[in-house]
Amino acid sequence: MNTIRLDKARDPAFKRQVEKESGQNLSLCYQCGNCTAGCPGAQVYDRQVSQIMRAVQLGLKEEALKNRSLWLCLSCSTCSARCPNDIDVAAVMETLRMMARREGWVQDRPIESFWKAFLDTVKYTGRSYELGVMADYMARTLRGWGNLEIAPMALRKNKMPFVPSVIHGREEVARIFKRYAEKRS
């Protein structure tokens, strides 16, 4: 592992940016590790939540954004519930995901693709459309046959209808996406 020259590597603007976007005060974190202790994804993370929080505190952008943990996070918010300092850690993780996408530092493309596939179906039907998500995901990643064995069961239980169910207010949902796109541009 390389020694990190803190005087050179630190980017205080990054910490401020994360604080602004997440609405959380990162200086409140005293590194007790309770977010890591409660995290159901901790076993598969390449960097623990508390370590990501530490990286943000120090302003080490790459350490914070370039990891798979952000994409393995389940957004279950156990970290936020356990934090003794009332930091919404899950919101910080969400902010970091968005930043990682903007910076092009996403470390797990398939998971990102799944997200996009899911959001696309919501955009067009107003709610989740399982078969659409599957098809979209396969198209994006050129793989995904791995889960095909659950299809017969899902079909039999009518968990994966061929025709998407469309909700009232589909247009309103679509407008949310549109507004978001406008805001970003």
Binding site: L28, Y30, Q31, C32, G33, N34, C35, T36, A37, G38, C39, A42, Q43, R47, Q48, S50, Q51, T78, R82, C83, P84, N85, D86
Partner: protein, 657 residues
Amino acid sequence: MKIGVFVCHCGSNIEATVDTAAVARIALTYPDVVFAEDTMYTCSEPGQENIVQAIKKHGLDGVVVASCSPRMHEPTFRRTVERAGLNRYMFEMANIREHVSWIGRDREANTNKAAELVRLAVEKLRRDAPLYAKQFDVTKRVLVIGGGVAGIQAALDAADAGIGVVMVERESTIGGKMAKLDKTFPTIDCSSCVLAPKMVDVAQNPNITLYAHSEVESISGFVGNFTVKIRRRATYVDWDKCTGCGTCTEKCPTKNVPDAFNENISTCRAINIPFPQAIPKKATINPDYCRKIKEGKCGVCAKVCPTGAIVYDMADEIVEEKVGAVIAATGYDLMDWTVLKEYGGGTYPDVITSLQYERMMSASGPTAGHIHRPSDGMEPRNIVFIQCVGSRDCSIGRPYCSGFCCMYTAKQAIMTKDHLPDAEAYVFYMDIRAPGKMYDEFTRRAQEEYGVQYVRGRVSAIQPTVRPDGKVGYIVRGADTLLGKQVEVDADMVVLAVGVEGSHGAGHLAEILRISYDHFGFFMESHVKLRPVETNTAGVYLAGVCQGAKDIPASVAQGSAAAAKVMALFSKPKLENDPQISLVDIKRCVGCGKCIKVCPYQAIEEVDVRGAKKAHVIETVCQGCGLCTATCPQGAIQVAHFTDNQILAEVNALCQC
């Protein structure tokens, strides 16, 4: 009248943002000001000497110092002007540090504001009159509230100095929390072996009157002359007759009473003596459980008592004591950790508090010093200690460190290894706080000599499981932040180092004593650094954890310190009152009596002046609070040094600026 004004730089504290020389120049234009200058440190010896010389040289009648808050240095400067032959009340202070320089950066605006505050002080001083203190007698006895180790130390030290002590203890025995401990850090010496002799001394010292199973009902009066009403709660046993033989506690048929002394991990009888070394060693009946008191049937204890001490119809009794000072030493309670549902919220039988574990390890405790877990009596192999439970946790409103948990956890882990050499002890910690003498060495010993496994991280949750052998286990899931991994321990028992808060009822007592207290039930000291045992109420002192979390050595030291303060107070033959008190203008007084009703000190009485009813202030009782002044419809009662005319003059001065 000739007034001198001294504007202090306070190093750079004031000078950095206030042009003190300009303030002095402006001050010279105020009425009656004949001398003004700026000085580097007015409170220093040369600074004070400068004031003395100026008073003599210019024949000053009064002095204004524009500097810091009067809290610290008003007494200093009053002594200074007194040294130069002026009356100490011919002095006024303008606070241009806390009220000006520390809160604003604009030098010009600050300078103007400082000059205005000086003008206020000058206008007040022009209306000041010399005041003289009255002397009054002191009752040289002290009330000690709480019989824990801090209170015991304070009582013994005061009694040794020949001061009469009235000790009030809420429980039926003194000893407090320390009496419950098995061993103490960092020496691992037996707690009751060092405490019990002191408890016996309290009982045997002729200067100490002990009221156990009693509470302070009310306190009236003022420093030197308090009247205390003490409620002696009914014990249903005539303690003059009770010999503490214990026959009643053996024969009592009600066996399901939670044993508070053993932190409710065991039961006791409805008539009980808390522990063998109890002082006083007398039996007490718990009326919530006693069958005779509740249902009128039973009466076994009365039949077996060899001295006929049982009195089922005993009632509370109020006794009155006169004292000159009060030491509050009410200690602490553990915070209600059951709010932490992730640790079971009190529903897991083998997740216990450190105090419960302490009772379990004590040879005089319910398990006779053998460590068996509560649920099935199994001897635990893996014991997890969790620190900072309810400490340093803003999410449940507990931001503070409880101070001594790191040390007792290390002690309990060492003791665990002593009791059960084959057991593993894990300590989940955030930081190890061991700054006392031989303390850090002690926590190192736990790891180096005894092999206690310290894990740096909090515990997220405790999950009960059933193991293959059918026994219950507890999966403790935490983090090792040094390793950067989530970790788990399958524990047999979990000990929580629960944080402390002020003793229950501390807030109510603070109101009785007229002292301040914080959100957590800790009493406020007068000055956090320089007056740590005094309160802002004269004659009321603090000792032990009631003032803030601290360990036994610090509690004992504060007990002695509080006793020393009382000795200093009582060393004077008479006390002097503060002459800034209310005075009645009998020409204006219409005898309506409203001031008598509002006075919180009973300092105003009704007198007959040539056939007319008038109010009269008892000078040594009045504390100068000003409630009467605000109430009097005629403006007939005025607090000296703060008369309506003086305050209006200040307001006028401010409006002219």
